[in-house]
Symmetry: C2
Subunit: 578 residues, 2 copies
């Protein structure tokens, strides 16, 4: 059984995740996290929050998932967030047209870039058939399908809304208010952990391509000219880099460089992107990603969004495939510029000069008693053109008359009728559009990667054991309390210990069902790092055994000191050090 | 300014919550939590999880917000989750028709119960006009508007889906799997904290009536005949009860009874509902609800869903209005029965008998070689009727022939051709449909109540001070570190202390902007319970002052012991006890 199938079986049986609504035949692309999975996911989100919000002193907000259409007109999602689809004329099944072409035609790796028309031609030329019913798809139209889930806000269809395709937009649209919370000072970061939605044509690979998912996104707003990241904090962190050059080179592979060295060598272009690539490594390590199955891959020129200055993905290897789990993008001023253009508010920030600056401003004050009679219905357009001209080309006002072109016709306006003058003004700063650095984490894919990377088997007492080697701070349950027997007061004592550990803040499971070996296996399988066993010795001397998942070793500890002992273990101490 | 308006102003200015998408003109019914509000909300959710999941040993899951139509056919939301609306023929504005009638006609308090037709008549009879443009609404149709947000899953409109109107359905539909995680043993509880959606016609009152909100719901599955709650754990907790009888009685008011006394007096009918009313009190207290502005109100007979056995709401008083913040419902077997009926899986659980039971089962084994020729095309229907008859009326087989009615025609089947026999079977248990007890918390309304109840002003040094008296465990920031000056190394020292406290796990703000009094005020206003001030004495003897928000008193503490001192304060110690 492949590692992804083995994990899917475990995930369903033990309550990590499973396809939603199976009692109703299932709903492709939707998964429910069971008790173990919901706890694991929450622990991973908390670890992210700890590193990317609290430690970096960023803000966090929580915005609605439904947003009005105007937002996505500005962001470009309404126009451009499409997949190419083709519908079978026979069976009615819908498929990704570009994927069909990529699968059928050698040498085509990015069919989407060819356009719908060319893709339709290729489908006809190569006699591509419907994967569901094998009817030829020739002559079927290829259409653009918008991946946003649409809905209506309020009664009627007058207020279309969409489920956000990324949490980022909920941050961008509130920039005018967020900058006030940041006291109008760059740089500042705003994070959000929440649901996002994409109406995928072909959901697949368990949690990898789903229709509803959780993102953890950080939008770091910077002054592109003046702000630099504290690169010294990460410069010695080693990164596994798979550069665009290496990808295009036949023998190219992942190379290991420190952040500092990669910047010096020009492999990383943006210091800000480099900073976050470095910052993210301790996060992946902390939550249990196998760093031997991890790499940073640079986007190829064709992959990159047109506004993105530099882009790297964090990828994990799962069942032989590399999967994107995080995107690190320099989004430049694209998002704030677009919202500034479409929305009715200011998406700039005031940058104070070090010293006030004196600048010359040219203005006009046209004599309408002359322009009106002289130019009639063109007068207003002439005034507008004079104003524009004063700003961009003072030389035009140096002659006796100013040439102005309106709808192809040249007019000459006497300079003394334009009211042209140049004045000195003192300015203390200027309004700039911040740039955005965005690390965007796909939480579900990260949960999935952690499960696959920590899932394994070994031999214990000649029996095969299945385990999840989850870090103690991430595991759904930190400690399981197991009474040797459910008699002679052992179970009562075990419940007392359970309560005591819960009060001390641990995630505790109580398990008294089946023989003790089977209970250990059950805990190993869901990744519980420690078991505490209550036996007859406990009743005599108030000690318990602590069993470690990874080594299966045991050690006796006094109940009195149990919370402290467990805290030390969780913080990384070895059992032998207790 | 009313307390709700004062709070709304503070909430927007300081980043608790604000209307979403204001740069695009706003979207009614949608709010964004800013940095302070998102942290407060998360702390309240964590407190809920602590009490209702961890302490009670319940499971928690996380399900998608989009669910397929079949789920809501079963749950009844597709058919019955409607509001009555009327559209103005003149200006096109849409209004709640039942609300217009309630506002205009004396003595009508629940117009919805009258039905759409009668409401339309009342609008005509009472010459009710459009509140937007004052055009008479007479003769305009009153329609039922479904409050679920609809969308389509995948391309085309073949797979309608809806945003869940309550998180509960994501739990109910997975019952067949959840019972396995509970090892097929009742009772067990499953909780979920997540978004839910209602496409309200008239969103209003800030966070009270919104279109997208967060619920924390617990579905406790019980065996209605055998399971009893551990009522002894809550029986001495005092509840402010506003019973249905008191509401209908002219002088009726809230009465205080312990859980035990209210059950004995019959004010509370269901022990399970009583148990959760008791369990919830420490939750409300812990998060800062003013219990003098809190009550439990019983649903009146007309208010209650037809399946609900008993229903109480927790309500808070906000700006003179009582608002529901939690519903406690005994949902009986309604939900699981419906899903069992509509879905393709079993929504029952096997209840083992204490002892295996021997029961008699009557069966038939008809002689088809006789029935076929004798009854022709009616034979199959006759067999079905004989099987049914054997189960429900053995006496029918006591004569020589059995009378069977098919489509109004009576047939007589000789008993010896029916193969009737009675056999003894041993059964170890039976399949039962669990009942559901549901405490359902509206997190946004709770956040809003906490803010309004803790918001106040007083006089400090003859100046009006605005504060939020948030409990230390719930406040967005636990401690603010403020250097007296940003020179002479005071600020560096303050940053060191900030880092140290963050490492110790506290939520810390660093604030060095403006005079010290203003900084204290700023922290008071967002509810930060403690400020740590770094001054010149700090540089000499490594001590700082700790200032308490509520008393504004200060006390010197050694930096070395600061984390421990703060932990004690957060746990409830007074400043004077340090």
């Amino acid at each position: 059984m492949s590692e992804t199938r083995a994990l899917a079986e475990l995930a369903k049986r033990r309550g990590f995740f499973f396809p939603s609504n199976e009692a109703y035949g299932g709903t492709a692309g939707f998964y429910t996290y069971g008790p173990e999975g919901a706890a694991l996911k929450r622990n991973i989100e908390d670890a992210w929050r700890d590193l990317f919000v609290r430690e970096l002193g960023n803000m966090e907000l929580e915005a609605p998932t439904i947003m009005p259409e105007a937002v996505f007109e500005a962001s470009g999602h309404l126009e451009g967030f499409d997949d190419m689809i083709i519908e079978c004329g026979e069976c009615g099944a819908t498929h990704r047209a570009d994927h069909l072409v990529e699968d059928a035609v050698e040498d085509i790796e990015d069919a989407e870039a060819l356009g719908a028309e060319r893709v339709a031609e290729l489908i006809t030329e190569h006699r591509i058939v419907c994967p569901s019913c094998t009817t030829p798809l020739a002559e079927q139209p290829v259409e653009e399908f918008n991946l946003m889930f649409g809905t209506n806000i309020g009664p009627g269809s007058g207020s279309p809304g969409y489920l956000r395709p990324e949490t980022a937009q909920g941050i961008f649209v509130e920039f005018p208010r967020l900058k006030e919370y940041a006291r109008n000072t760059l740089p500042f970061g705003v994070a959000q952990i929440g649901r996002a939605y994409r109406n995928e044509i072909s959901p697949r690979r368990a949690l990898v391509r789903v229709r509803e998912f959780t993102q953890a996104e950080l939008e770091h707003f910077i002054d592109p000219e003046h702000d630099e990241p504290p690169i010294e904090r990460v410069e010695d962190i080693e990164l596994p880099l798979y550069s665009a050059a290496a990808q295009q080179d036949d023998g190219g592979t992942v190379e290991y460089h420190t952040v500092g060295a990669a910047l010096d060598a020009g492999i990383l272009e943006s210091e800000w992107v480099a900073y976050y690539l470095g910052r993210a490594v301790p996060f992946y390590e902390r939550i249990g990603i196998d760093m031997d199955r991890f790499r940073y891959r640079q986007h190829l020129a064709g992959e990159r969004a047109h506004y993105a200055a530099d882009c790297w993905d964090a990828e994990t290897e799962l069942g032989g495939n590399w999967i994107e789990i995080t995107g690190f993008a320099h989004r430049s001023d694209y998002d704030l510029s677009k919202h500034g253009e479409y929305a009715d508010d200011s998406f700039t920030i005031f940058r104070q000069y070090d010293e006030p600056q004196t600048v010359e401003r040219a203005t006009v004050d046209p004599d309408m008693s002359y322009l009106g009679p002289e130019f009639g219905s063109d007068a207003a357009a002439i005034v507008a053109e004079l104003e524009s001209l004063a700003g961009r080309d003072r030389a035009a006002f140096e002659g006796e008359s100013v040439p102005v072109e309106i709808d192809g016709t040249m007019h000459a306006v006497p300079v003394d009728k334009t009211g042209f003058s140049v004045e000195e003004q003192t300015e203390t700063g200027e309004h700039i559009i911040p740039h955005v650095i965005e690390p965007s984490f796909g939480i579900d894919r990260i949960v999935y990667s952690v499960l696959i990377h920590t899932h394994g088997t070994d031999l214990v007492d000649d029996e095969t054991r299945t385990f999840l080697e989850l870090p103690a701070t991430i595991a759904p349950t930190t400690v399981a309390v197991v009474p040797l027997m459910t008699k002679d007061g052992l179970d009562d004592r075990a419940r007392e210990v359970t309560d005591r550990l819960r009060t001390a803040g641990f995630e505790v499971a109580y398990d008294d069902s089946g023989n003790i070996g089977r209970r250990y296996r059950r805990q190993d399988e869901v990744g519980t790092p420690y078991c505490v066993t209550i036996d007859y010795e406990t009743l005599e001397d108030d000690t318990v055994t602590v069993r470690e998942r990874d080594s299966t070793e045991q050690r006796r500890v006094e109940i009195e000191g149990l919370p402290t002992a467990l805290e030390r273990l969780v913080s990384g101490a070895a059992l032998s050090e207790l």
